[in-house]
Amino acid sequence: MTVRLGVPSKGRLMDKTFEWFAKAGITLSRSGSDREYAGAVGGIDGVSLVLLSAGEIPRELSAGRLHFGVTGTDLIQEKLPLWEQQVDPVQELGFGFADLVLAVPRAWVDVDTLDDLDAVAAAFRQHHGMRLRIATKYHRLVREYLRQGGVADYALVDSQGATEGTVANETAEAIADITSSGETLRANHLKVLSDGPVLRSQATLWRSRVADLSDADRLVARELTERLTAG
C-alpha cells in the first residue's frame, strides 16, 4: 500500500502544485511523456502520485481512492454534499484564487444587490412569463446561496463553458461563474453584485476522512502532513 496523492493533471494548476510541494522537498513529476498521466514522487517514500482532472478529485477523495488531493474549494463544495464529513482541508496553497460570483448586465443600473435581483426576478417573471434565468455550472452552491438570500422566481440553466456569453445570446439574464480577475466579465458587459461572492476559492490540499490507511501508511501520511504544513 502507498499513500495516494491526487494532483490536477494539466496546466498552471499542476505546475504551481509541483512548485508548492518542491518547497517542502517533495518532488512531483510526470513520468514518461507529457501525454501520459503517470507520475513520480521523490523526497518522500511511500507516496504515489495520481494525475487526474481537478473536477474528479473531490469524488476520488470521498470514495476513499485518494488519501490526499489538491483541488479548489469551489469544486469540493459543489460536488460533495456534507463535504466537512468527507474531507478535511490540510493547507491552503496560496494560488488558484477564484471567486464564484453572481453577475448581471452592467446596463442594469437598478441592480446592485441580491435584494434588487429578487425584485427584478419578480418583475421579469410578470413581464416575460418566465423565471429569470441564471446560467451556471455550480448549481448546488448557487441554489443554496440564493435560498439563503431569499431570492425567488429564478431558474438555473446549465452552462458548462463560455458562461459569460449566455446573456448576450439571450439564453440567460444573469450568470454565476468563477472569476479571478473579472476581465471576462467586463468584456461581456457584466458586473458583480455587491453582496460579496457566493464562495471564495483557492487551490487547497485536502485529506480524505474516509480512505483506509495501513499502519505504515499512517506514518507516511503524518510525515507528509507535517512537512507540508511546517512552512
Binding site: P81, L82, P105, R106, A107, W108, V109, D110, D112, D115, D118, A119, V120, A122, A123, F124, H127, H128, R131, H139, R140, R143, E144, L146, R147, Q148, G149, G150, V151, A152, D153, Y154, A155, L156, V167, A168, E170, A172, E173, N188, H189, L190, S194
Partner: protein, 360 residues
C-alpha cells in the same frame, strides 16, 4: 427495523379509516411533470425532489408530494364537495441529513368543500389527531391567514404589500423588506445617486433580454417607493406582536382578538379562528391544551394560507413531523386555471408511526 410490509399494512388501515370518514381513494402517477412543480415552488424544489428526464417528455420529477397532483385531478373535473384519500411513496432528495429517508410512504386526506371552512378545518385536524393518538406526540397549530391579512391591511403602497406577500414563506427576506419599508435600512450612495437622477450615465451597451424599458420602469418604481412614507413603527410593532403569539389555543385567541383592536385587518381571521375552535370542540378536540403558534409553518409549508398543523414526536425531536397539514385555497387558484375551491388536508407517515410505537 420496520419492514415495508408492515408499513404498507399500516398505510392500508389508515387509508381505510379515511375512507370510512367519507373519502374516495385517489391514485396519482409517480412521475410528475417538472414544469408545474418548478412553477409553483421555484428552483428550490430541485434541492428536495429527484429530477429525471427523457427526450420526449422532458424533465419529470419523482412525486415529492401528493397534494399537487390530487388538486390537479380534482380541478380537472372532480365532483363537489369531495374528499380524497391516498397512500403511496413520496421521494425526497436529502442533501443535508443522511439519516432522513429519501423514499417513504405517505397517507393523506384532502377535503374540497365550500360550505363551512371552519368545520372542514376541524374535521381534518380531528381525524389526524385521532389517527396519531397514543403516540405521545406534540401537536401545534398555526394560521398563515393572520399574517397574510395583516400584510394586506398595512397602511402602505400596493407594491410594498405585494413584495411582502411574495415572501411570507421566507422569513428572512420578509424581515429585510419590512426593515427597508420602515426606513431602517441605510441607502447606499450609489442607490441615492440613482434615485436623485445624479448617477453618471451607464456607458455599457445594453445586453440580454431584459429591456431598457424594464429598467426605466423599475427605477420609476424605486423612486415612487423612496417617496412613499415609511411603515410606522407602530404597525411594525403590531406585526411583531402578531408573529410572537404563542399560547394554548384559547389564550392565543384572546391575544389575537386584543391585537385586532389595533390591527383591525386581522379581525376576520380571529373570528375564523374562533369558529374553528368551536368546531374543534364539537369534534372532541381538547382545545384548552392545544398549542397555537402564529409563526408556525412559515418556513416549511409554502402554499398553505390558512390553518396549518403538525404532530411531532415529543421524545425524538430529531425525527421529521409524523403528520402535517393545513388549508391551501391559494394552491387551488394557482392550479385551477381561473377556478378555485377552498381546500384543506394533511398527510401522515405510517413508517414513522410504527417506529415510534416500537419505542414505546
Amino acid at each position: 427495523m420496520i419492514s415495508r410490509a408492515q408499513t404498507l399494512a399500516r398505510a392500508a388501515s389508515l387509508r381505510a379509516g379515511f375512507e370510512a370518514a367519507g373519502a374516495i381513494p385517489a391514485e396519482t402517477p409517480v412521475l410528475q411533470p417538472a414544469d408545474t412543480l418548478l412553477d409553483l415552488y421555484g428552483e428550490e424544489i430541485r434541492a428536495r425532489a429527484y429530477v429525471t428526464s427523457d427526450a420526449l417528455r422532458g424533465e419529470q420529477m419523482l412525486r415529492p408530494d401528493f397534494t399537487v397532483p390530487v388538486v390537479q385531478m380534482h380541478m380537472a373535473g372532480g365532483a363537489e364537495p369531495a374528499r380524497y384519500t391516498y397512500s403511496g411513496e413520496v421521494f425526497r432528495r436529502q442533501e443535508h441529513d443522511p439519516d432522513r429517508a429519501s423514499e417513504y410512504i405517505q397517507v393523506g386526506y384532502e377535503v374540497f368543500d365550500r360550505t363551512d371552512p371552519a368545520a372542514a378545518d376541524a374535521e381534518v385536524f380531528a381525524l389526524f389527531s385521532d389517527a396519531v393518538s397514543g403516540l405521545n406526540l406534540r401537536s401545534v397549530m398555526g394560521d398563515i391567514g393572520f399574517l397574510m391579512d395583516a400584510v394586506q391591511g398595512l397602511r402602505t403602497t400596493d407594491a410594498r404589500k405585494a413584495a411582502l406577500q411574495r415572501h411570507i414563506w421566507r422569513p428572512r427576506r420578509f424581515r429585510a423588506l419590512l426593515d427597508r419599508f420602515a426606513g431602517r435600512t441605510e441607502i447606499s450612495p450609489a442607490r441615492a445617486a440613482l434615485l436623485s437622477g445624479e448617477a453618471a450615465l451607464c456607458e455599457a451597451p445594453h445586453t440580454g433580454r431584459r429591456t431598457g424599458q424594464e429598467i426605466e420602469t423599475r427605477i420609476a418604481a424605486l423612486r415612487a417607493d423612496a417617496a412613499a412614507d415609511p411603515l410606522s413603527a407602530e404597525e411594525v410593532g403590531l406585526l411583531d406582536a402578531l408573529l410572537n403569539v404563542r399560547e394554548t389555543l384559547p389564550f392565543a385567541l384572546e391575544q389575537l382578538r386584543d391585537l385586532a383592536v389595533d390591527l383591525t385587518s386581522v379581525a376576520p381571521a380571529a373570528e375564523r379562528l374562533a369558529a374553528r375552535t368551536e368546531a374543534l370542540e364539537k369534534r372532541g378536540v381538547d382545545v384548552a391544551a392545544l398549542p397555537f403558534e402564529a409563526s408556525f409553518g412559515r418556513t416549511s409549508m409554502e402554499y398553505y394560507d390558512g390553518m396549518v398543523f403538525g404532530f411531532f414526536s415529543a421524545d425524538r425531536p430529531d425525527l421529521p413531523p409524523v403528520a402535517t397539514g393545513g388549508r391551501y385555497d391559494a394552491l387551488t387558484r394557482r392550479l385551477g386555471g381561473g377556478a378555485e375551491i377552498p381546500a384543506v388536508g394533511g398527510v401522515l407517515r405510517p413508517g414513522l408511526m410504527l417506529e415510534l410505537e416500537g419505542a414505546l
